[in-house]
Point group: D2
């Protein structure tokens, strides 16, 4: 079980919507819609992906990282280092 | 016709791949895969969307903005302002 | 002369303010202020730098890129490629 | 005492360097240096600020958040929510 398991349905609903947004982008390109309109929708899909990430991260801190911290020692250090690297990838993507 | 029309197939191929990535994210969540692995894949999908944006923007500058600049006057000013706003949304998403 | 020359004072005023923000960050760290408060101020300084970039880019499109487009040929192509690379760096920083 | 106190000198050294980078940006603008070169340096300063943030956040997770998690209850919940909000601001700046 992971931190996000309790909110699985919400994550799945968001991801399905984003999948639809990306399909919609392909339709816009197929229909030769104006570049700026396609760019606007890409920014929207990117922000939606970001929100899924931030929710998953919050649940990961509450659940997996907190459990590891309770255990202490290298388990905690490794889990926090792993979370920090994920945050760095998120910030730089 | 827009700047991206010549590269339409490339954009469609990338968008289809991103659509598959997002579907893959939903599968990972359904299969209770580890949070950090899901986050890593989200960062990859975000960067893929970013690349599509940057390509579209480059083609937009080469084609639509350049045409407007050739016309000059408010046509050029409006088109550049529109491009700058799209860049700002992209930077802040 | 560059696109930003007309707004030089505004850019210099913003950059001086950001310089002060960064100096303020050092003071916060020296005074052992709370991590989250320091992080909040770093986000503010980052957004301020972003605004300077977006203004410079807008002026660059209006001035330098437009002039190159008017000249046409490889001058225009090179200048747009250069602008697109700068936008990519901005998006990924 | 905060998570970053042990690495205070490193943070101060980085922030002083960034302060110098921002001062250098003002000099570039004063000397009418080419827009793209100024943009390139702004991206460098932005990434340097990002690194300071990510280091501070890592130390905050190791120290302040871990302590709060050890205490448990609302202390832990509040501290994690606060960290998640700081991460969101960082991602969106």
């Amino acid at each position: 079980m992971h931190g996000y398991t309790d909110n699985k349905d919400d994550h799945l609903r968001r991801l399905r919507r984003i999948e639809g947004q990306v399909r919609g982008l392909a339709r816009m390109v197929e229909n030769d819609e104006y570049c700026i309109d396609v760019l606007t929708q890409i920014s929207a899909a990117t922000r939606a992906l970001q929100s899924v990430s931030l929710n998953l991260l919050d649940e990961h801190l509450k659940h997996c990282v907190s459990q590891a911290v309770a255990e202490g020692g290298t388990t905690a250090d490794d889990k926090i280092a792993e979370a920090s690297n994920a945050i760095a990838r998120l910030v730089r993507s």
